[in-house]
């Protein structure tokens, strides 16, 4: 009966009646509704994505008006011909430079936040996150090995270009899956007395191990050190449509599977044995989710490097504000994760402009204090 402080501050914590359309009308009897995604929260999520995307397209060294951007975007739709009012150069900035980058940010954020929420539900562990479980490190090791192999054996300069080689996500996936399974097995050695901390300790051990291998590979293939280093810190800088198209199918696949299984994650919250007594198949559900969440994480890591904190903060914030059911957490994590990442990327490229901060630094810098604030406020309301 471990009650995590973060989770313990559930719905009512958000202020009971004042919780914006939290799906369940608290304090009224007897016609209550089960906790579901409310239209209000869904709209808030869509609005957040829209605002983040528009800000990402509008702001930068050249500032553009939102109206011109919207017209320019509509002009891109096949069959629509609108003059945006932007100059050719400005139009190129929107469509060729900023749009792919914003799209990639949205996809990476949605993927990592959803993966984090999924891991938390699947392991019944509020601390689970692609980072803490070693998934990201495994993916990083796999990707580094793939990049090193390209350089070492083929001596091609594929990674020098703007895109990520197609092989990299697959290698990253293999690494991610290996890492999460190792963490799972190591964390399970505590038997029935295992606690959330054991799993995370296992994740830390696995992370160190894969990071060590990655370090070795970087030394061994010195010519790639620089490249891999910038990649580790997380980057959306070289984002082009190639990266977006590479990640998109993985994100879509993961979203479909995870959202389809969101009710099952609520069933898993009572533990495997009770879930089985309710007629569910906990092991089957868990392995399915491990595979798709790791696949999504690996693909995100392949195109953007290691971007921490998103998988932990976003689902938690959603849980604290909107509700503790995975039917609420997963879809909202997808939307707010996307918005969060697009805004973080905006900060990464504007704060020290023209220099750029690695986005992983930004998410950690913003994420950690933000999380503490959220945690403290909701506790006080309780």
């Amino acid at each position: 009966m471990t009650v995590a402080p973060a989770k313990a501050a559930g719905n009512d914590a958000a202020g009971g009646k004042s919780a914006p359309a939290a799906g369940v009308r608290r304090g009224q009897a007897p016609h209550r509704r089960p906790e579901r995604l409310s239209v209000g929260w869904l709209l808030a999520g869509v609005l957040a994505v829209t605002i983040a995307a528009l800000a990402g397209l509008a702001l930068g060294p050249v500032r553009l008006g939102p109206l011109g951007i919207v017209r320019q975007l509509l002009d891109l739709v096949p069959g629509v011909d609108i003059h945006s009012g932007l100059s050719t150069r400005e139009a190129a900035i929107v469509t060729d430079l900023r749009l792919p980058r914003v799209c990639l940010g949205l996809l990476v954020g949605a993927t990592l936040a959803m993966a984090g929420g999924t891991y938390q539900g699947m392991f019944r562990n509020p601390l689970a996150d692609p980072y803490l479980l070693g998934v990201a490190a495994g993916a990083g090791m796999g990707a580094t090995a793939a990049i090193a192999a390209e350089h070492g054996f083929a001596a091609t300069e594929i990674t020098g270009g703007p895109g990520t080689p197609v092989l990299v996500p697959l290698a990253a996936f293999a690494g991610a899956l290996l890492a999460v399974l190792l963490t799972y097995l190591l964390g399970a050695t505590g038997g029935r007395y295992r606690t959330p901390a054991v799993l995370i300790l296992a994740g830390v051990a696995v992370t160190s191990f894969f990071t060590a291998i990655q370090g070795y590979l970087q030394q061994r293939y010195a010519q790639t050190i620089r490249e891999v280093y910038t990649w580790i810190m997380g980057r959306l800088t070289t984002a082009g449509w190639h990266d977006v198209l590479l990640l998109l199918p993985y994100t879509v696949l993961m979203a479909i599977v995870v959202l389809a299984l969101r009710r099952q994650l609520d069933v898993l919250s009572v533990g495997d044995e009770e879930a089985a007594s309710l007629g569910a198949h906990p092991t089957r559900i868990r392995y399915t989710l491990i595979v798709v969440a790791s696949l999504g994480t690996a693909a995100a890591v392949s195109v953007s490097g290691l971007i921490g904190f998103v998988g932990l903060i976003v689902p938690h914030t959603v849980r604290l504000l909107a509700g503790s059911s995975y039917r609420v957490i997963l879809p909202l994590s997808m939307l707010f994760g996307a918005a969060f990442m697009a805004l973080a990327d905006l900060a990464a490229r504007t704060v020290l402009a023209p220099a750029e901060i690695p986005i992983g630094v930004v998410t950690a810098f913003l994420g950690a204090p933000f999380f503490i604030v959220v945690l403290r406020t909701t506790r006080r309301l309780r």
Partner: protein, 265 residues
């Protein structure tokens, strides 16, 4: 109509350790059978086996159907379990928790129907939980929580209820509330109850039949009066007890060893 539970030479080993050895047991429809026995006798394991939650040797039939041939969802519509120490999912409201009991009726990728919601409403009403439906499970008192656990099991609509130590965490008043409620449900709704219990007097007070399990073997079974005897209890519990026959069933009273007379110093 076949009996709700039939066990034939049932054996269970956990982690290579044999727990149950060839247990035979029948639970007739509408009865309340309680398994008693010393710590580590295998009481919980017996319940888990009947619930289909551990692998077993021998044969278990639920309402005449071999347990092994029952798909999970079908099984969950026949038998509902309240575990000894159920997991309390953080942040979950009572209503959502009880709704989990409808899992065997909801397609794996589907959502609950109006029937499911109506069933949950009825159970909440019946267990006097309607006013607590929106409360978080972890904010409830011990007695309320136990009723919520029971409500989830009842929402499964199963006619066999397995209760593993349903009252260990409760004070004597709440113990009675919960057990009276189960007894009432059994009489009203044709439920069959198989439970384990620690408190022998309480066990004898509510069950039609007691089953004494010792080291994974069934050593005695019958009406409480026949099982709760000084001889059986001292032999198998290695306890000094006096059994007092009250009008409501045998009362088992532990006896302190006679103290030697105080020596004046």
């Amino acid at each position: 109509m076949s009996d709700p539970v039939e066990l034939e030479r049932v054996s269970v080993a956990l982690d290579g350790q044999p727990i149950l050895h060839g247990v035979d047991l029948t639970v007739p429809e509408g009865s309340w059978v309680t398994v008693i026995g010393p710590n580590g006798a295998g009481k919980s394991t017996l319940l888990r086996a009947v619930g289909g939650l551990v692998a077993f040797g021998g044969a278990i039939r639920l309402f005449g159907t071999p347990l092994r041939r029952l798909p999970r969802r079908d099984r969950a519509r026949l038998v509902a379990t309240v575990a000894q120490d159920p997991v309390v999912p953080p942040g979950m409201a009572v209503l959502d928790y009880v709704l989990l009991g409808r899992t065997p009726y909801i397609a794996p990728l589907g959502r609950e129907s109006a029937t499911d919601l109506a069933a949950v409403d009825a159970v909440l009403e019946r267990l006097d939980l309607a006013g607590l439906a929106g409360r978080r499970l972890e904010s409830l008192s011990g007695g309320e929580r136990q009723r919520a656990f029971l409500a989830r099991a009842l929402a499964q609509g199963a006619s066999l209820l397995l209760l593993d130590e349903p009252t260990t965490a409760l004070d004597i008043g709440h113990q009675q509330d919960v057990l009276d409620l189960v007894d009432q449900l059994r009489r009203d709704g044709g439920l069959t109850v198989l439970s384990t219990m620690h408190d022998l007097s309480v066990a004898g007070g509510y069950a039609d039949r007691l089953v004494l399990l010792v080291d994974g073997r069934l050593v005695a079974a019958g009406p409480p009066r026949e099982v709760l005897t000084e001889q059986l209890l001292s032999e198998h519990y290695r306890a000094r007890v006096t059994v007092v026959d009250t009008g409501h069933g045998p009362l088992v009273v532990p006896v302190r060893p006679a103290r030697s007379a105080p020596t004046p110093s």
